[in-house]
């Protein structure tokens, strides 16, 4: 049944309102970042965007944050995915408990987490490394609520229990079953969880700032203290970057589905 013009109008109105609500801040950022530095000048300028590459600490901060994100993704793959799969397969009674534990980072304010882990990080920076990359440890905890949800949904959708048993009876060891069957089956869930984690890591400010680590967001805040336009330009660039990353997931999936149908 084709939707009537009333239904269509209603749909487009809602999409319009939501789109306006979401895009207005981005438009405002773009507007602000292209205004001349001096308030009496008129017209548009890309000066704020042009000086981005020459900002001190920025490039290295972006690099650090990206490396941190990659490490967090690695931790998701080697620590969180096997744990969640194991709980689903072997210890289903613990599912609720693990879910609860994974939700804790949502309930505790970042400042409280920082107070709790500050002594640990002091010890880490004295005895192991001063690198902000060590933040990936606390980040891998912060992203738990999101990655757990994404993985859990993928696990529930795939009847992982039967797949695991099928792989076992066909001769797969636990490692080969995980690598050859479970991980590829959960690919979309893992990707979703990982990209949300990347977005979170690249956008995190409170903890890294309070622990005195110069990450991407901390440097943006620093720039903001000297030049608002540049800080907004950098923020917008980072938002667009993360947005493109996030859009990449469903895009990839859709391409595969189209491919599959072509094969048929």
């Amino acid at each position: 049944m084709k939707p009537t013009w009333k239904v269509k109008l209603w749909r487009y109105t809602i999409i319009g309102i939501v789109g306006f609500y979401l895009l207005l801040p981005l438009y405002s950022m773009m507007d602000f970042s292209t205004k001349p530095f001096a308030f009496f000048q008129k017209g548009r300028t890309l000066d704020a965007w042009k000086v981005i590459p020459s900002q001190p600490d920025l490039a290295i901060a972006v690099f650090r944050s990206l490396i941190t994100a990659v490490i967090v993704m690695f931790l998701i793959l080697v620590l969180i995915v096997p744990t969640v799969v194991w709980v689903h397969l072997k210890l289903p009674k613990l599912k609720r408990l693990v879910e609860l534990i994974c939700l804790i980072p949502l309930a505790i304010p970042a400042i409280v987490i920082v107070v709790g882990i500050a002594p640990l990080y002091r010890w880490i920076s004295i005895n192991i490394t001063e690198s902000p990359i060590s933040l990936s440890l606390v980040y891998s905890m912060l992203i738990l609520p999101y990655t757990y949800r994404a993985l859990s949904a993928a696990l529930d959708a795939a009847d992982i229990h039967t797949l695991a048993e099928a792989a076992r009876t066909l001769g797969a060891s636990t490692t080969r079953m995980m690598a050859g069957v479970i991980m590829p089956t959960l690919r979309t869930g893992i990707l979703n969880g990982s990209f949300i984690a990347i977005a979170l890591v690249l956008g995190e400010f409170t903890i890294s700032n309070l622990l005195n680590y110069k990450t991407f967001q901390v440097v943006i805040a620093q720039i903001g203290r000297t030049s608002g336009n540049v800080a907004v330009a950098v923020s917008l660039a980072s938002i667009l970057f993360v947005l493109i990353l996030l859009l990449a997931i469903p895009q990839k999936k859709r391409q595969k589905e189209v491919l599959d149908v072509d094969v048929a």
Binding site: E165, A166, A167, R168, T169, G171, A172, R176, R187, V263
Partner: protein, 345 residues
């Protein structure tokens, strides 16, 4: 020493207070097709999973081809299994699914041999043209065929079928059932099939084991199981039965004007309930008859007639449709019984 190829010896498994298996003993000969039949919770699936190594046992021993595999991990057992739920790996094509088990034995199976074997099996299940399809592009029946090909690809010692047809619609179910039997006979694979559908079990297996409360009630050929049930549970569970109150003396009793004998295991004297098959009863229109037809159900070549008897009880008779054509509801009828040995409880 037993000549059985597969032996389950006194296996037991308790889940808390529930006894899923309570000392089950079962022998299967090489190349034999055995079906385990029983109501939900009778332990049939637990027995199959124990043989696959997916279920640890509290007690007992599992021997295959003379080797004790009770504590062998499932991936070292060489059992092919088809599950009730669709279990194809969703990220692999049909061919990749079939080759999966062979790949795990990579050092033994070169890739060209693997391709030959998977091609062979896809042909065997009639899906050569679907080798590049992903599971989500196939119907339920096709997915189960591929699962069967995948299980057979590793040349398993025993093929385990865990209600593989129950998620399919009736027509596909019958087709695939016949195909499973054809393939099993062609390859001679020893097979254990678990189902709660008696028609499936009786139609496909060399021997059918009826289970209750974690134990085998009877294991026999389908015909023997049907005609000569060893217990009242088997008589009632397999096929339809009419429960008729009778008085037994010296292993004989009279019902519907016929003298009938009792099966071994029945009561030998006193009042009891005879379990009479509908096809052993014949209904004939008769003005002086004291039975009344309640309803008839047409089932193609045969027809089932429901009759109310003067004592208020109701029986089902099954007869050829042409013989039942005049039996409208309300018709006065006479009921007679064929001379068959019957179980009386």
């Amino acid at each position: 020493m037993s000549s059985a190829y597969v032996q389950l010896v006194d296996i037991a498994k308790h889940f808390g207070p529930v006894k899923a298996l309570d000392g089950l003993t079962l022998d299967i000969s090489k190349g034999e097709f055995v079906a385990l039949l029983g109501p939900s919770g009778c332990g049939k699936t637990t027995a199959l999973r124990a043989l696959a190594g997916l279920q640890e046992l509290d007690r007992g021993q599992i021997i295959v081809d003379g080797k004790d595999i009770t504590y062998t991990a499932p991936n070292k057992r060489n059992m092919g299994m088809v599950f009730q739920a669709y279990s194809l790996f969703p990220h692999m094509t049909a061919r990749e699914n079939v080759e999966y088990g062979l790949k795990l034995k990579a050092h033994k199976t070169a890739s060209d041999k693997r391709a030959d074997r998977s091609g062979e099996l896809l042909e065997l299940v009639g899906l050569s043209t679907h080798s590049n399809h992903y599971p989500h592009q196939m119907s339920g029946g096709q997915q189960q065929r591929i699962a069967l090909a995948r299980a057979l690809a590793i040349s398993p010692q025993v093929l385990l079928l865990d209600e593989p047809l129950s998620a399919l619609d009736a027509k596909v179910r019958t087709q695939l059932r016949d195909e499973i039997r054809r393939i099993q006979l062609e390859l001679g694979t020893t097979t254990l099939f678990v189902t709660h559908d008696q028609e499936e079990a009786l139609g496909i297996a060399d021997r059918v084991g009826v289970m209750r409360n974690g134990l085998l009630e009877q294991i026999a050929s389908p015909a023997e199981l049907y005609d000569r049930p060893a217990t009242s549970f088997v008589a009632e569970f397999v096929g339809l039965t009419n429960q008729v109150k009778v008085k037994v003396s010296n292993g004989k009793f009279s019902a519907f004007g016929t003298e009938l004998s009792t099966l071994p295991g029945s009561i030998t004297s006193g009042e009891g309930v005879a379990l009479i098959r509908p096809e052993s009863l014949t209904v004939k229109a008769s003005k002086s008859g004291d039975g009344r037809v309640v309803a008839t159900s047409f089932l193609g070549s045969i027809c089932r007639v429901m009759v109310n008897l003067p004592d208020g009880s109701r029986i089902n008779a099954q007869m050829e449709s042409q013989d039942a054509s005049g039996l409208l509801p309300g018709t006065a009828v006479d009921v007679s019984a064929d001379k068959f040995a019957v179980f009386v409880k």
